[in-house]
């Protein structure tokens, strides 16, 4: 009897898990993309909190850090970690401006094609608008809670850094609420956004070190 119940639960959970997430069909894909792109066009600034979880298979707990992110169109981004340490990176033109607990430094990414690509990825993933990126093969999924886009790099150089890249979107406003980067080793980083404020005024001074 007990076995039957466990088998039933097991079967049910498999069915349920499958039911949770399915691939989008062509028309769902088209309308989803259109919504994300039109929302991204309207988005001039974003302010949001985030929590980052670094998952390494051999650890008991994910490594958790958190902070704030600010984005200003077309391509200013600031990631600021406030817990458990102070660390910020500003993506500005061809430079990374870093403030590591008071130690400031600058990294020129002007010559690095790969870094430019990664930077572009970050900006586009914040906005959600990266479906036309020729460097990735994109597949789309839906569930009752979210829409999901999974990006797999075509470029072998990028593939040595990232196995895949997942964006989870709210159903209603088509905003990205979670980013997941999976490494070739299967370890991953998950960033969950909260308290998002759209199109408030953000001073340019926020993006200087």
């Amino acid at each position: 009897m007990r076995n039957t119940i466990s088998i039933f639960i097991l079967l049910f959970s498999i069915v349920f898990a499958n039911a949770q997430e399915t691939a989008m069909n062509a028309s769902e894909m088209a309308s989803f993309k259109e919504k994300v792109i039109s929302e991204a066009k309207k988005t001039k600034t974003i302010k949001t909190d985030f929590v980052q979880f670094k998952h390494l298979d051999f650890l008991a707990d994910d490594v958790k850090t958190s902070g704030k992110m600010a984005f200003k169109s077309p391509n200013l981004v600031k990631w600021e970690y406030t817990n458990p340490y102070q660390y910020s990176v500003i993506f500005k033109e061809d430079q990374l401006l870093i403030n590591d607990g008071g130690t400031k430094s600058k990294v020129d990414i002007g010559n690095s094609k790969l870094f430019k690509k990664l930077n572009q990825l970050i900006v586009n993933s914040v906005k959600g608008n990266m479906f036309n990126d020729a460097d990735f093969k994109v597949t789309f999924y839906k569930s009752s809670k979210y829409n999901k886009a999974v990006f797999v790099p075509k470029d072998s150089k990028i593939a040595t850094y990232i196995a895949s890249f997942e964006l989870l979107f709210n159903k209603d406003d088509a905003q990205v609420y979670e980013v997941k980067m999976v490494e070739p080793s299967k370890d991953f980083t998950r960033i969950v956004f909260s308290n998002r404020v759209l199109n408030s005024n953000i001073d340019d001074a926020v993006f200087s070190n």
């Binding site: 051999f58 490594v63 340490y85 870093i98 607990g101 430094s105």
Partner: protein
């Protein structure tokens, strides 16, 4: 007379440059302790997570260092950026070293060797004692690692490991300083090199 002075001067200079600074002011003592333990990464239940700041030839680099004891003699050491992407992933099993991953841009033999040696020195748990020294503040144990010597400084007051110094016969090569408020947990770790301009500072993640 002049000649004698010149010779003694030269001799004393030679002796000074030859003698190891590490044991200066310490007196050698006999000891019954045959083995010492570095307790800071010895608990397999704990994920040891540190914010890292590296200063190399005037350049700064940040990241997160994660250390875990994953077997009786095994340690995993992973270094990621603040964003979580892995820069390297090392595994130590006794004297066996495995490089699970290293960012292609960093993957140079001389960088790998320095990092391997530094983290090996940091996590090495048990060492056989060859000589012992004493001072007002420290009990010091000399051990051997390959063709190098490693000195472990334990504070007399709290009997905590405070310093590790790796030396050749005549020169100090690497020094690791620990501060600790909780038993067997290193709050801050500073790894300094004497022959290259490399400094690694680690600060333990605060509890939530």
């Amino acid at each position: 007379m002049m000649r004698f002075l010149a010779i003694s001067l030269l001799a004393s200079l030679f002796l000074v440059s030859c003698s190891l600074k590490t044991t200066e002011g310490l007196r050698q003592v006999s000891t019954e302790i045959t083995e010492i333990e570095n307790p800071y990464f010895s608990n397999p239940e704990i994920d040891y997570v540190y914010k890292a700041k590296i200063e190399i030839y005037g350049k700064n680099l940040g990241g997160i260092v994660i250390i875990k004891k994953i077997g009786k003699k095994n340690h995993r050491v992973v270094f990621t950026t603040e964003f979580g992407s892995k820069l390297f992933d090392f595994e130590f099993e006794g004297d066996t070293f495995t490089k699970n991953y290293m960012l292609p841009d960093l993957d140079k033999k001389f960088i790998t060797n320095i990092l391997r040696d530094d983290f090996k020195l940091l996590i090495n748990e048990n060492m056989m004692v060859s000589e012992a020294f004493n001072s007002e503040n420290y009990s010091v144990f000399k051990t051997e690692m390959g063709n190098r010597f490693v000195f472990y400084f334990f504070g007399n007051a709290e009997n905590q490991l405070q310093k590790i110094i790796k030396t050749s016969k005549t020169k100090e090569k690497v020094e690791i300083d620990f501060t600790s408020t909780e038993e067997n947990i290193a709050e801050t770790i500073a790894i300094k090199h004497n022959n290259i301009k490399l400094k690694i500072d680690l600060e333990k993640f605060k509890k939530e």
